[in-house]
């Protein structure tokens, strides 16, 4: 393991990694996606136009909680340009139901109707779908709809929810959808009795929107020749959309084809199936005409899947040397109005409960995790999924313990961090090797060498600046295989992924994957993997994703699983194609199969006589066009398939983030002066892409720490329904980030890669919060809530005793 600074712009001629490096893997080659996206030739869902295409929009609820007493679409249907309008009774569709295989005292099943029938559970909930000749007429039609309500008390905060006097779902008393006490290991209470210091921290993160810049959208059409619905939609999980559309419409899955065009981001918001996707498909099934629905930004901000609103009440026991001796956590997640498909409302508290001890050696552990339902838009697993929150909780614990014990916070982490691998924790999870301690040391050394500690201490003495330095050390389970997901007891268990590779008569290959690129550069990185395995130019490899007709099944892209699982399947399929090429070549060269090998340059060579060689084109010529020359036991064509699943508990990427902030004494604004990320995602396939994932993730983490919050009034009315109130950071708020890479190859993925999609988002909130608290350390105020508002900082600074 070596620390290697990787500036952006690393070129193919400067490979950085010694292990598992090929000609292509490890090189920052030009992205295959770039030319079309840079010239306007990309095709996003709203770019699709079909002959006779109609447009759809939704009549949405204007109150948070109500019985619906009437929906009148008469005026809507009379609007010029409106073709049809349907409510729930018209469409009569099956509900979306996501289940866990858990007893009733742990999990309450609930149903999400495609269109609300008698009950409204959040502002923006769809009640009816309006179809018209153009999107402007759709808006006119929506405006003409008349809905009457019998308004109920809204459940908008944890206290109201748990009191249970108003129920979002009548079948869920106390508004609890999930209540699981996953661990209560021996010795927790004793550890607190014997503790030299006991810490109590309540951390809270505000509700956020994953906010892909491309909103959700779908174009559905009917293929009368094939008796098939074509659903073109921007989703991270095309096969799950097909499964659910078929179930809700009660048709065979064969009659639904889902394809995905270019996608403008997803970040988890698009890894669950939206009711709008199903409703549009249902309308097309009736009208047999193409229909497009594009979510507008107001819908996206209020009625799209949201994320993050969670509270962690954490108690931790420490001995006098700063070793943690017990952890006791109560996790409460506000999941909003419904359980999302396929993950359920349990996803956040279950992940937090399973992984809360993070990178630390915790001897005794107790946790209770609850998912609450409320009258807010439902949530989806946004980039990081509960890890930004539980990492924030435990990283605050480390800081608080250091303060109570008079120790350096990095030193407290050092004394607790896991250093020997594989390590099986108190949470029964086995962590594969990583660089937890090394990343912490390097991040601290970088900040120290750059003089930030000295500058902070100078500012302390001279009293001219409020500087703070914060750290966050964490790991991230990336390769969730089916075994790891099964422990969560979902009835739909993601995990494996498939790949098929085909070489054509020219020796070029098309490879499929059940993963789904939406900005992560799969077309490039997967091509690098294939090109190295087969010894061909990377431009000879084309990746196909996002078509349920081309890929038997897949679990899409989420949880940083694509390169770990999808990349492994692609590598295995390539290996098998290589074996097939060798078998055919050996037959044609009239030698033993073990006497040939891929030559790394587009051909198969005879090992005992390298002058004898066949190019892939020559082999393909036989495989397709002169199959009578094939060996008797080899079938025509050059194709191979593979599936891959990660065994056991999966693999863990890790990182340490270090941040220097300055609090403005005049405004309370927080400015980030320095951001350092030391990360280890195993073997890096494309350094520039990994850097990009880190920086983009960190930007979203900073957004959650300092700016973005989905807010509601006491009646559940969203109060951040535009970009005027929902504050998305711009180029002047997000700092440059320097990234260093450590490399611990994963032992059980094909390429040694561990996944890099989420880490940035996980580490940034805690690192920023810790830095802000460091800047406020003379004020007596400690903040444990994000986003951190300038007015909170200002109040702290103004109350300073003995400060500036």
């Amino acid at each position: 393991m070596t620390a290697t600074d990787l500036p952006t712009g690393t070129t193919a001629s400067e490979p950085r990694f010694e292990s598992r490096r090929g000609r292509w893997v490890g090189a920052s080659i030009p992205r295959h996606e770039d030319p079309r996206l840079l010239t306007g030739r990309g095709r996003f869902v709203d770019d699709i136009a079909l002959p006779g295409m109609l447009h759809a929009g939704f009549v949405r609820a204007t109150v948070a909680h109500a019985h619906v007493t009437g929906i009148d679409l008469t005026a809507t249907r009379a609007v010029e340009g409106v073709v049809a309008a349907y409510d729930a009774r018209d469409l009569a569709l099956g509900d979306i139901v996501a289940l866990l295989d858990r007893p009733a005292e742990e999990f309450t099943p609930t149903a999400m109707p495609i269109l609300a029938k008698d009950r409204i559970r959040f502002v923006g909930e769809p009640l009816a779908i309006v179809v018209a000749r153009d999107p402007y007429a759709v808006e006119d039609g929506i405006e003409a709809a008349v809905v009457s309500y019998d308004v109920l008390d809204a459940v908008v905060d944890e206290q109201t929810a748990l009191r249970g006097s108003a129920l979002v779902h009548d079948e869920a008393p106390g508004n609890v959808l999930l209540d699981v006490s996953m661990f209560d290991t021996p010795g927790v209470d004793e550890a607190f009795e014997d503790a030299d210091v006991a810490i109590e921290v309540t951390t809270h993160s505000g509700r956020q929107n994953a906010l892909p810049l491309e909103t959700r959208g779908v174009v559905a059409s009917w293929d009368a020749r094939d008796d098939q619905l074509l659903v073109q939609t921007c989703t991270q999980v095309p096969h799950q959309v097909r499964t659910l559309v078929a179930r809700c419409l009660d048709v065979p899955e064969r009659t639904v084809r889902v394809t995905v065009p270019d996608m403008g981001g997803g970040f988890g918001q698009k890894c669950v199936v939206g009711r709008e996707e199903v409703a549009v498909a249902a309308v097309v099934q009736r009208l047999h005409r193409p229909v497009k629905w594009i979510e507008d930004r107001r819908e996206a901000l209020t009625a799209g899947f949201l994320a993050r609103e969670q509270t962690y009440r954490t108690r931790a026991a420490f001995d006098a040397d700063g070793h943690i001796t017990a952890l006791d956590v109560d996790v409460v997640c506000d999941m909003g109005a419904y359980s999302c498909y396929p993950f359920t409302a349990g996803i956040e508290p279950l992940m937090a409960s399973a992984e809360m001890p993070s990178v630390y050696k915790v001897p005794a552990y107790r946790v209770r995790g609850r998912a609450l339902t409320s009258n807010k838009a439902p949530t989806a697993p946004y980039r990081g999924v509960s890890r930004p929150q539980y990492v924030m909780a435990i990283e605050r614990v480390m800081e608080r313990a250091a303060r109570e014990l008079g120790l350096d916070p990095v030193e407290v982490r050092r004394r607790n961090v896991i250093t020997e691998f594989p390590y099986t924790g108190v949470n029964a999870v086995t962590y594969d090797p990583g660089t937890y301690r090394e990343s912490l040391d390097l991040a601290e050394a970088t900040i120290r060498e750059e003089g930030w500690f000295a500058e902070r201490d100078r500012a302390d003495r001279e009293g001219d600046r409020h500087l703070g330095i914060g750290f966050c050390c964490f790991s991230e389970r990336t390769g969730y295989g089916s075994e790891a997901f099964a422990k969560r007891k979902m009835t739909v268990v993601p995990g494996f992924d498939l790949s098929e590779i085909r070489m054509d008569t020219t020796g070029a290959v098309v490879v499929t994957s059940g993963t789904m690129n939406h900005g992560q550069s799969h077309e490039t990185t997967f091509a690098q993997i294939v090109a190295d395995r087969l010894g061909i130019d990377v431009d000879r490899v084309k990746l196909r994703q996002g078509d349920t007709e081309r890929i038997a099944y897949g679990w899409g892209t989420f949880a940083s699983r694509s390169v770990t699982i999808g990349g492994s399947a692609v590598a295995l399929a390539s290996e098998r194609l290589g074996e097939l090429l060798c078998r055919i070549a050996a037959h044609l060269l009239e030698t033993r199969p073990e006497n040939v090998a891929l030559d790394g340059d587009g051909g198969v060579v005879q090992l005992d006589d390298p002058s004898r060689r066949l190019t892939y084109e020559e082999i393909a010529d036989v495989a397709y066009l002169r199959s009578h020359l094939l060996p008797k036991d080899v079938e025509p064509t050059l194709t191979a398939t593979a599936s891959f699943d990660v065994p056991g508990d999966g693999t863990f990427s890790n990182a340490t983030h270090a941040v220097v902030v300055e609090a403005d004494a005049g405004t309370g604004a927080i400015r980030i002066l320095r951001y350092v990320c030391v990360e280890d995602c195993g073997v890096v396939i494309h350094p520039q892409v990994v850097d990009g994932q880190c920086r983009g993730g960190i930007a979203q983490g900073i957004a959650g720490a300092l700016f973005e919050e989905v807010t509601y009034d006491a009646h559940g009315e969203p109060s951040a329904a535009s970009f005027i109130d929902y504050l998305v950071p711009t180029a002047t708020e997000i700092p440059d980030v320097s990234i260093s890479h450590l490399e611990t190859p994963c032992a059980f993925t094909e390429n040694g890669a561990k996944g890099a999609g989420e880490g940035g988002t996980i580490g940034a909130p805690a690192a920023v919060l810790n830095a802000v608290n460091d800047a406020l350390r003379h004020t007596g105020v400690e903040l444990d809530t994000t986003p951190i508002h300038p007015r909170t900082v200002l109040e702290a600074l103004e109350n300073t005793e003995g400060g500036l």
């Binding site: 952006t8 712009g9 920052s28 030009p30 992205r31 996606e33 770039d34 030319p35 996206l37 840079l38 010239t39 306007g40 030739r41 990309g42 095709r43 996003f44 709203d46 770019d47 136009a49 999107p135 402007y136 906010l211 892909p212 810049l213 491309e214 909103t215 270019d262 996608m263 403008g264 981001g265 970040f267 507008d296 930004r297 939406h518 900005g519 992560q520 550069s521 520039q688 892409v689 850097d691 990009g692 920086r695 983009g696 993730g697 960190i698 930007a699 979203q700 535009s722 970009f723 005027i724 998305v728 711009t730 180029a731 002047t732 708020e733 997000i734 440059d736 980030v737 940035g760």
Partner: protein, 163 residues
């Protein structure tokens, strides 16, 4: 009020005539009437800048411009930047610096940057960052977009013939 108007404008050098309702936005005319779908729509209220195009040389939000307001104007979109498939210097810089991931905001940033570089060819990195803060990107964290535009600015300056 909704009577259609005959609109004439120049888009990427070509003269175009379109029949539009007064309420139709320039973004919709470009994307759906002229099928120039490179210009994207991200918020429809003028904040995200994904729909940025050049209107008589200046960057505008095409979602906030009614098409009828562009009567007689010269509009440039992302489709005008490359020459017969060859990326422009700015487009190449975005690729070199990994200034795009999903690519949805990219056309808006490219057109914004073209406007900024035309107006302030001597802009330094921080001035470029300030100007680019007009648009939103959700993928990159902005650093590599700033790098790409700054590199283009430097390259264009070094190519200028001293007078």
């Amino acid at each position: 009020m909704n009577d259609p108007h005959l609109l004439s404008l120049t888009v990427n050098g070509a003269e175009e005539e379109v029949v539009v309702e007064p309420r139709r936005t320039l973004a919709d005319v470009l994307r759906h009437d002229l099928r120039l779908t490179g210009t994207h729509v991200g918020c429809e209220h003028g904040v995200c800048g994904a729909c940025t195009v050049l209107l008589d040389g200046a960057p505008v939000r095409a979602c906030l411009v009614f098409a009828v307001q562009a009567e007689g104007a010269d509009v440039r979109t992302v489709e005008s930047l490359d020459a017969e498939g060859r990326l422009s210097d700015l487009q190449q810089a975005f690729s070199d610096h990994h200034g795009l991931q999903c690519g949805f905001c990219t056309p808006g940033f490219l057109m914004l940057a073209e406007g900024v570089l035309a107006e302030s060819p001597d802009a330094d990195r921080e001035e470029i960052r300030e100007a680019l803060s007009a648009n939103l990107c959700r993928c990159t964290g902005y650093q590599t977009i700033v790098d790409a535009v700054h590199a283009t600015a430097c390259a264009r300056r070094s190519q200028e013939v001293p007078s």
